[in-house]
């Protein structure tokens, strides 16, 4: 049940031509998928899908895979109605996913178009100290306008990351981060059919503003998958029975317990490499620690719309305040009218809970460039979620480009029913 893309990848791997690589890119149906990795790989893995993102193209030069990253300010739309002035790479945050194969020699050119110095640290990659990218310690910082080269041979495989190690606190807080996927030289057993890469992040973007506040340490209010919030996060589309890998990277200052509905999964890798089979506990939630990656694998054997989300419930809201009165259960009758006399348009909120917020948000004006707390319409009503939330859509039939198949239609008698009103 290989996809068209996988077949094409296999063909190109066999052909072993860099020309073929360019053709493959030209034939790409979706910009969110990676280039093929041939000819460095002994066996072509399925390309990594970076939802709402892309992999970084490269060129072969004298047997070296050469990548080019440009550090620069970027606008990122977290969801319609909210654009954020971030810093990132190659026009986006997170930066494009770097894909290579164990044994590759890679050269990464880094151009600094930021207003301040930067550097790149290759998080978790085993390399000579002079390539570790710690400004001041292993190299002078890359000054604005300069281009520097990092070159090293990949001696491992797994999910790594990249991020600045100059003014690291600020630069990561405003979005400078990316995933660095090193495929194994030997085929994984069993091989996965779908390979997703998701960078987790937490942001402080105060209501009514558009720039992340790097000074915030704990009180973040926007939580993203690849710098998108639900309902703008792309669904993960999978064909029934496929083996699925999801790679999580976390460069935020919060840990994120990632929870998947519908399946049990095993954690098969960390930024330290593959987890031995004997250590792979069956789980439905795994904590992705700060500054770490986790790969999970499962077989998507039940079709449906399955939720993948951070289980810290504040992380699945958007733009939530954390220092306001708790109005739950407070009867505002009588008082509400008096407040309305002073503030026409006032309405007492939260007495019966916060569900009503999603309906109200459609009628009420909020601060500029600020998303309402809960969002998302499903086939049965409000989903009342935001932030680190997406849907794994498992279907018996999927299109060649894994386009969003729409809402799952439950077979008769398989959905919860109302017993009494």
């Amino acid at each position: 049940m290989a996809t068209r893309r996988q077949l094409l990848g296999s063909f190109l791997a066999a052909a072993g031509a860099s020309l073929g690589h360019r053709l493959a890119r030209a034939a790409e149906p979706l910009p969110t998928t990676s280039t093929t990795l041939a000819p460095g790989a002994a066996v072509a893995p399925p390309p990594v899908v970076t939802p709402d993102g892309a992999s970084l193209p490269f060129e072969w030069k004298d047997g070296v895979k050469e990548f080019h990253l440009t550090a620069e300010p970027v606008w990122r739309e977290f969801a319609p109605g909210m654009r954020v002035k971030c810093w990132g790479y190659n026009g986006t945050t997170p930066g494009p996913t770097i894909e290579a194969v164990e044994g590759d020699r890679v050269r990464i050119l880094v151009t600094n178009k930021l207003p301040e110095r930067t550097s790149i640290h290759w998080h978790g990659v085993l390399l000579p100290p002079g390539m570790d990218g710690v400004s001041g310690l292993t190299q002078p910082a890359i000054m604005p306008g300069e281009t520097w080269a990092y070159e090293f041979t990949l001696r491992q495989h797994g999910t790594q990351m990249y991020h600045p190690h100059a003014d690291e606190m600020l630069q990561m807080a405003v979005g400078m981060m990316g995933l660095f996927v090193i495929h194994p030289r030997e085929a994984a057993t069993p091989p996965v059919d779908r390979d997703f890469a998701i960078m987790l992040h937490a942001w402080a973007i105060h209501p009514g503003t558009y720039r992340p506040d790097p000074a915030v340490m704990l009180d973040f209010n926007m939580f993203t998958f690849n710098s998108k919030v639900f309902p703008a996060t792309a669904p993960l589309v999978v064909k029934t029975g496929q083996r699925v890998r999801i790679r999580f990277g976390n460069l935020s200052m919060d840990e994120h317990p990632m929870h998947l509905h519908g399946f049990k999964f095993r954690v098969t890798g960390t930024d330290g490499g593959p987890v031995p089979a004997s250590a792979q506990l069956p789980e439905t939630t795994t904590l992705v620690p700060v500054g770490a990656t986790r790969d999970i694998e499962f077989v998507a054997d039940v079709p449906g719309d399955w939720v993948l989300h951070c289980h810290k419930s504040h992380h699945t809201m958007n733009a939530m305040a954390h220092d306001i009165e708790n109005t739950l259960g407070a009867d505002q009758r009588g008082v509400e009218e008096r407040i309305q006399a002073l503030l026409p348009g006032y309405m007492g909120m939260g007495q019966r809970g916060m569900s009503e917020m999603q309906d109200m948000a459609q009628h009420m004006k909020g601060p500029k460039n600020t998303l309402p707390m809960m969002a998302g319409k499903g086939p049965f009503g409000n989903i009342e979620m935001g932030g680190m939330f997406t849907i794994v859509k498992v279907r018996d039939e999927v299109s060649a480009d894994y386009a969003d198949p729409g809402w799952y239609e439950h077979p008769e008698g398989t959905r919860a029913w109302k017993v009494r009103a």
Partner: protein, 487 residues
């Protein structure tokens, strides 16, 4: 300078020529006093400066018409000019002041009168023959009085003018006092209205906190804090309300109608007018039309005149001339002129001259001081008007819209539950507090303007400006577009 003094000057040589008997007859005819004669001068001065009516209640039919006009004014909420008008027509102190005109007028008539001649007589009865009563009679008239009568009359007339200026000054002072009292009263009402809104916001905060406390969501500590704040503001309202009655008493007293009765003032201060009249021109006018300044100038003139007169009279023999009649026992009548002469041996008039000279210098110094006063009063009042106008303007064009904007944006944050209801009410509180500051600024402006009007002895015309509501109530539909459906 008045017509009467000119008449007397012309009459003087005639009187001298006609002699004693004729003069006596003429003088007898001049004894009637018309106290109201000096009033038109005051009236004209007030009309020129304030464009308002004055009336001296003298028990005439006009009194009833004036009363009816005042009652008409009192039936409506008074604007500041109406308040001044009522006071000018009703204030009893002013009526008392008008009597100064009567006194001055009487002095003038007095000055125009000759001293009454003195008739001395002696009847002597001999104790032996030849019998027959010896009768001696002397009708004498003070000669100096006769000669200087026109000059004294002139001085008295000048004094009438001086009194007219002083009375006009008092009228203007009263007008200014009425204005100040008026602004204080309207501001007191306005402040109370705003403070009531401030207190209502605090009390609504308290009520909401109470509900949150009942729901188990906020501590007793927070509830007690909110309740204490609401109570403080309730007390502030009570304190502000207590200012109204004394302010009303003061204005009612100045109006001459008392605090009772149905009269009322508007609940809100008028906005600061957009444009000011040409102040430098008015300032120049101040030096020619301040009645108190004119009064002191007149005082100097009168004293100078009086000193000049004294210089002459001190060397003029004080003499009584008259007719002496004696009836001798023999039956003969002896008739002839009499003369008695005061010899300036002990009192040569030096003390009197010294007194007048001191008074003149004193008066001249007072004139210089008053000139400085006027300059300083105009300067200070103009500066206060300018700063109060700038402050009130900054409130109106900057702070009030900003505070309203903060409320509108707070509602947006509240709508998305990014701001709690208590913080939203705090934004409203700050808005109403700004309004309170604005009212103080507007009151300061009108008080400063009143001081300037007083300094200029003028009524400044008002260019009416659009006034924002200043009672703290939300403008109708102000936040309507934030309203959401479904409730």
């Amino acid at each position: 300078m008045s017509r009467s003094s000119l008449d007397h000057r012309r009459a003087t040589p005639v009187a001298l020529r006609l002699g004693l008997a004729a003069l006596l007859a003429a003088a007898t005819a001049c004894g009637h006093v018309r106290p109201e004669a000096a009033f038109p001068g005051v009236r004209d001065a007030v009309v020129a400066r304030l464009d308002q009516r004055v009336h001296w209640r003298r028990g005439t039919a006009e009194d009833a018409a004036v009363d009816a006009a005042v009652d008409d004014l009192l039936a409506q909420p008074l604007d500041v000019d109406a308040a001044v008008q009522v006071a000018l027509l009703r204030n009893p102190s002013l009526q008392a002041t008008y009597e100064d005109l009567g006194v001055a007028q009487a002095d003038l008539v007095q000055a125009g009168l000759l001293r009454n001649p003195v008739l001395t007589g002696a009847f002597r009865f001999p104790d032996r023959s030849p019998s027959g009563t010896n009768i001696e009679m002397d009708l004498a008239q003070e000669f100096v009085n006769l000669v200087f009568l026109p000059a004294r009359t002139r001085i008295a007339a000048a004094q009438v003018v001086e009194v007219q200026h002083r009375v006009a000054a008092e009228v203007l002072d009263l007008a200014a006092e009425v204005r100040a009292a008026y602004w204080d009263l309207v501001a007191a009402h306005n402040t109370v209205a705003v403070l009531r809104t401030v207190a209502e916001v605090a009390d609504v905060s308290r009520a909401l906190t109470e509900r949150l406390h009942e729901a188990g969501n906020v501590s007793e500590l927070q509830l007690a804090s909110e309740t204490a704040l609401a109570t403080e503001l309730e007390l502030e309202v009570a304190r502000a309300e207590a200012e109204i009655a004394p302010a009303r008493e003061r204005l009612g007293r100045l109006l001459g109608v008392g605090a009772g009765g149905g009269w009322s003032v508007p609940a809100q201060l008028p906005a600061v007018p957009e444009a000011e009249p040409d102040l430098p021109a008015l300032e120049e006018a101040a030096y020619t039309q301040r009645p108190d300044l004119l009064a002191v100038q007149q005082e100097v003139a009168v004293l100078r005149d009086a000193l000049g007169l004294q210089q002459v009279t001190r060397w003029f023999p004080i003499a009584d001339v008259g007719v002496a009649v004696e009836h001798e026992r023999e039956g003969t009548w002896l008739v002839g002129p009499s003369l008695s002469l005061v010899l300036p041996i002990f009192d040569q008039g030096n003390a009197e001259r010294g007194r007048l000279e001191s008074q003149l210098r004193q008066s001249e110094a007072r004139l210089a001081a008053r000139g400085l006063d006027v300059r300083a009063e105009v300067g200070a009042a103009r500066a206060r008007v300018a700063s109060a106008r700038a402050i009130a303007g900054r409130y109106r064009t900057a702070l009030l819209p900003l505070r309203a904007r903060v409320v509108a944006l707070s509602i947006e944050h509240y709508n998305y539950m990014l701001l709690g209801p208590l913080a939203l009410l705090q934004a409203k509180q700050a808005e109403v507090e700004a309004l309170r500051g604005y009212i103080e600024a507007v009151r300061d402006f009108w008080l400063a303007r009143t001081a300037l009007e007083r300094a200029l002895a003028a009524r400044l015309p008002v260019a009416v400006a659009a006034a924002p509501a200043t009672d703290g109530a939300p403008a109708a539909d102000a936040h309507r577009h934030h309203h959401h459906g479904g409730h």
